[in-house]
Each structure stands twice: as structure tokens, then as C-alpha cells.
Symmetry: C2
Subunit: 375 residues, 2 copies
């Protein structure tokens, strides 16, 4: 049973301590974590049903159902286990029993029905006594997750390596050639990533040939790759729950001048974006540093999305890097830089890497070359 990548037992205890500190600052006695990815981050548990009660004074409780008793023992050996089909009610009853007065919960995760159910259980468990007061912790765990620890960075490094290797093998085998369809290429890329140890593709792999490459999020279809096409591949691998994300655009046969021109433009924009990834840098300014290269070349209207996003246990997470973003970078953030220029009806280029923000230059996790590849 793989437990790496969600971090060692000690690392996960550190994460719970960080949440404990947040809870204490907010005057809470405990926090009920229901978001399953947040539960995974804080405990290492990879099953499909689990919740966690983090208590300010320690003595945390992890709840899951009987299917996962063994798995919980292996993955979460250091947190007291409660086995119950209804994990949230079970933890809520324990919170009352253990004297929790102010209980934090995740209002961005718990549904309207879930909150009604939680209030009922707390009231019933209090049995006429004081009912714990519920307070939202907002996205406190997501805020912790934005800064990756060493175990997480190692998982991301491996996820990026799988994607790099899968693409390298397809290129070496000549799998990207005229006559094949987008769907064939996409399925081979996915299968190759699985063979190389990915749990799954990070998202639905994008393979876009010719004019389709001008559609930012084209879904691969029966379009046949043709000589002279741009071929845009946007894909990633999930390893131990962590997602890599990369895009490369190649040319089939011979590159026309207009293709070289926009390729070099996007590459220059992408380099400028990477260079702007500094601790303390504003996400709007980073987007701007990359975007101004494209705007200056007269293609501003053809770069129709934000520059990048955080990656980790989710393919899109904090921070968003774009004109509508907010906030600054911190060391340990994992982000993508992915400018694009899309010429409707003709073709488009996107180049994307996953990187780690550090106190020095960012660490590049996507190692595939960004030179224009003509196949």
C-alpha cells in the first residue's frame, strides 16, 4: 500500500499541528475536516470515505467505514480511529463527548444538507447540554496546502518525470506522425503514463492537431494528424495523488515561418513568466511579465487565458496566476507557467512547465526541452 507522497507519518503530524495552530488562533476547540483531499493531506488516507477531527489540545480522531479499517491502520497509524459508516456524525458525537465548545468546519465543502445533519447530530449528542458552536474555518487547510513540503515536492517531481518520460518515448517511437488520430495519440500517452507508474492521467489529456491547436481546451477526437500541423499536447501524470501538468507544441513535417514566429514568441513569453516567479511577487505582475511579451508582438488578443495555477493534490489549486488573481508567491508553492497564442482557424501554441517557487530561481520540474521540435 503506497503511503509515500502524502508524506511520512511525521510530516502529516506536522501538517495537523499547523492546522491546530490555526484553530487555536481562531479560538476553536476543534476542527472537523470533511474535504477528502484535505483529509488525505492531513492523514495520508487515500480511501473514498474519511473525515478528521483535529483538536486544539491534541488527541485527534480519524473516522472511516469498515471497508477501510485495515487501510486506515496502515496509512493513519498515529491517529485514533473511529469506524462508522457515518463518519461526520460519529466524529461530531465524539466532539460533544470530549467537551468541544467551539467547532470549526469547512463551509466551502460541507453541503447545505450536510450542515443541517451536523447540527442535528450535535444537538442530539448534547442531550440538553451545551451544543457546540459551529464556525467556518474557510479554506484554512487549502492555505496550508499551497506551500508544499519536501515530501510533496518529491511526489510532484516524480509526477513530472513520468509525463516527461512518456512524451519522450512516444517521440522516440515515432508515434506523433501524420496519419494517426488525436485520440490514438492521447490514448497512447495515457497508457504510457500508467505503464510508467502514474495512478492516472492528471486530467483528460489534450491532443490538438492543426486548426484544433487554436482551441485552448480541445478534446482529442478522430482528427487525423497531417503534415505541417501544429500538434499541441497538454497532459500530466498523477503520482501518489500529486498532479503534474505540462504542455508542448510540436510541428509535423516542416515548420512554416508563421509557426516558428509564434512558437518563439510563446517561448519568450514563457521564459519571462518563469523568470518572474519570485518569492513575494504579485500573481498579477507575474502574469503581466509574461503577457507583455505577447502583447508587444501584437498578439495580446490571442492569449485568452491566465498564465498559470497552483498544482498539488488537485490539478488546479491556489495560487491562481492571472490578471484576475490576488496574492503573492511564497517559497514552496508549486505552479504552472503556460502562456499561449491561438490563431483561430490556423493553429496555436502553448508551452507549459510545472515549477517550484524557491528563495532562489524556481526549480523546474518539467524537464522536456522547449526548443521547437519538428517531427
Amino acid at each position: 500500500m503506497s503511503t509515500a507522497g502524502v508524506g511520512s507519518v511525521d510530516r502529516r503530524a506536522d501538517r495537523r499541528d499547523a492546522l491546530r495552530a490555526t484553530a487555536a488562533r481562531q479560538g476553536l476547540d476543534a476542527v472537523l475536516v470533511t474535504n477528502l483531499l484535505n483529509v488525505r493531506y492531513l492523514t495520508g488516507f487515500t480511501g473514498s470515505n474519511g473525515a478528521l477531527l483535529v483538536r486544539t489540545d491534541g488527541g485527534d480522531l480519524f473516522g472511516t467505514d469498515g471497508r477501510y479499517t485495515t487501510q486506515a491502520g496502515t496509512q493513519v497509524p498515529d491517529v485514533e480511529l473511529i469506524v462508522d459508516r457515518g463518519t461526520v456524525p460519529a466524529l461530531a458525537r465524539e466532539a460533544v463527548r470530549r467537551g468541544v465548545g467551539r467547532l470549526g468546519y469547512e463551509s466551502h465543502d460541507l453541503t447545505v444538507d450536510g450542515l443541517v445533519g451536523l447540527e442535528k447530530v450535535l444537538t442530539a449528542a448534547a442531550d440538553g447540554g451545551a451544543v457546540p458552536e459551529l464556525t467556518s474555518i474557510r479554506r484554512a487547510v487549502e492555505a496550508l496546502r499551497a506551500i508544499k513540503d519536501d515530501d510533496e515536492i518529491e511526489a510532484l517531481r516524480r509526477a513530472c518525470a513520468v509525463a516527461d518520460q512518456a512524451l519522450a518515448e512516444l517521440v522516440a517511437e515515432g508515434a506523433l506522425r501524420p496519419g494517426r488520430t488525436e485520440l490514438q495519440v492521447g490514448r497512447e500517452l495515457d497508457a504510457r503514463m500508467l505503464q510508467l507508474g502514474a495512478e492516472a492521467p492528471s486530467f483528460e489529456t489534450i491532443v490538438a492537431a492543426g486548426a484544433n491547436s487554436a482551441i485552448p481546451h480541445h478534446r482529442p477526437d478522430a482528427t487525423v494528424l497531417a503534415d505541417g500541423d501544429f500538434l499541441k499536447l497538454d497532459f500530466g501524470a498523477t503520482v501518489d495523488g500529486y498532479h503534474s501538468d505540462m504542455t508542448r507544441t510540436v510541428v509535423l513535417g516542416r515548420a512554416a515561418d508563421w509557426q516558428r514566429e509564434i512558437y518563439e514568441l510563446v517561448a519568450a513569453s514563457q521564459a519571462a513568466g518563469r523568470a518572474a516567479l519570485e518569492v513575494g511577487a504579485d500573481v498579477v505582475a507575474i502574469d503581466g511579465a509574461s503577457r507583455e511579451v505577447i502583447v508587444a508582438a501584437g498578439h495580446g488578443e490571442h492569449f485568452t487565458h491566465g498564465l498559470g495555477h497552483g498544482v498539488g493534490l488537485e490539478i488546479h489549486e491556489a495560487p491562481g496566476i492571472g490578471p484576475l488573481g490576488a496574492g503573492t508567491l511564497a517559497a514552496g508553492m508549486a505552479v504552472t507557467v503556460e502562456p499561449g497564442v491561438y490563431l483561430p482557424g490556423r493553429g496555436g501554441v502553448r508551452i507549459e512547465d510545472t515549477l517550484i517557487v524557491t528563495d532562489d530561481a524556481p526549480e523546474l520540474l518539467t524537464l522536456t526541452s522547449k526548443e521547437l521540435l519538428v517531427l
Copy 2:
């Protein structure tokens, strides 16, 4: 762009009409559908951001963001499109503008934060006038989804065929043999399903060898397959969004008497469960029909889970078939039948098919033989 499997445009219009009828019965002017799978079911839209406003008097609205403008045009050609990053606020504003007085919403899907946001938008849009009254529709769309239409059954048929074929190929190639690891077998099964046209495995494939086969939800690990092992494979393919689910247990080398005995027992229990799948049958009674075979043989304590579950756009959906279930079967339901006997430390057997409930005998979608296979 694949639109099959979520049904033809006409089929999806039928589904919206069914929801419209439900809304009218509840005295609602419109329903805001936020659950993304429910949106997919009702519109065919497969993107990651979309919401739907179904109005009792017709004139529905579909909301998504700019990434999906083209895709929405192709997949949802028959519903008026609103392009906005904030799909729920945009649809809420339109609801006010178009005079909706009573608005249904999905309280099992909308988060606590989401409801607060929705109320704010409605109040602001009303601009001092009447604010629409919010009422939960509960799981009204899930109730519709429990009965599959012909397009959905065809997608399930194909998803089951991919899983059948992937297993057949692995068996034919001798991939299930002593010396290989559970992880290797699992990855090959997943890769094969992708090559055969699956979008993804239906869930994390279970490969459990030897004593691991006694763990109902074992995750494949580096355990090496050995002569005399039970090898349990629980897996499925997703095709056009619809999930298949099957389990087969084989023996490597030579089957011992105790292995043949529990295999035949589970096979008999599974046949009894399938035979009990009749329109109007109570889900507890169906579970009982299968379970009593195992109980009569003295293995009741070794069958530790429910008999089956509905499958469709989700791997687990209504109806649940087990001792704690409620309700009866209807024609068009897609369900699994999957009894198991698990002898801790020794090994276990589960046999699972996906079937469609009909007015006659159930239609078996999983076509792989259930004879004990010794490899």
C-alpha cells in the same frame, strides 16, 4: 467531440422535461442544477464548469465559462447559453430577470458557502423587488438517473464490453501468472482498457493475490502472485461517462478443494442474487436471496458487505442493494450483484456482474464466464 452516451439531443430534452414535470409538481418556477454529473445528464455537457436553469414554462439556460464556449455549442446546441465565469450567479441573475418566484436548488450539492453566495446574488439582482424563494429539490435528478434510458444502457453495454475484453486479452496473453506483482497486473489491465477505448478506469482497480484476496478493497501493491493463489480482480471501464463494474476471481496453478468449495458457494449466491432482480423486488430481499446461500453454508460472517449498487455516471449510485437499503427495483435500473466470501489470512472470492433490470429476466452486461478459471 464525443457526445454519445450522454444521449442524443432529444433524449436529453426528454430528461429536462422530466425534471420540469417534477418542478411543476413541487410548485417551482425553475430549478437550478449545480451538480456537475446532473448537469451532464440533462445537457450532455462534459466540461468541468457548468450549471443549468430548468424553467417550468420552458426556456432553459445553460451556463459555462469562456473555455467551453465552443464545446457548449456542440454538446448543448438546444439550450440557450450564458457564458460567465460565475455560472451560478449568472443563472441566478437571469432567474430574477425572467420573473422566477420559487427557485429549486440541490441542497445535497450546494455548499454552505454556495448557498450564502446564491442568496446574496438573488437579493442584489432583485434590487429591492421580490427575492426568489429557495426550496431544495433534494435528489430529484438522481431519482431520474436511477432509471437508465436506451442511450445510457448502450453506453453501459460498451463500458462492460471494454472491461470484459481487457480481461480476456490479459488472460489470453498469460499476463496473470506467478512471478508478476499485483501492481503490474493492475497497470496492464488499466492500460488495456484505455487502449480499448475507455476514458479511464471506473475506479482504482483492485488486484488482490493470495491472502490479500480476503481483503474486500485491497489496493494492489508489490505482492508477487504465487502458485495456488486466489487472484481477485475488481475493475471497470468508463465509456462516455458511464461506469462498468465487474469482479472475477481466478486460481493460479491448481485449485485446492477449499478454493473450489468457496468459489462454487459464491457463484451459487451470485446466481441467486441475479435471479432475484425483478421489477418491484425489495432491495433488502434481493440481498437476502443471495446472502442466505452463503449463510446456509456457514459463511455468513465472511460476507461482510452489501450485495450491490446502482451504476451509471457514478460508480456507486442509487439503488443500494443490501441489508440496510430501502426501496424496490424498477425496469431500467443498472445494478451490480457482487457477493463475496473472505477467509482472513487465507483468501477470498468475489464474483460481480453489471446488469440491467427489465420486465423479464435481467440483461447481463458483463459477459465474462463465471466458471472457475485455473490459470
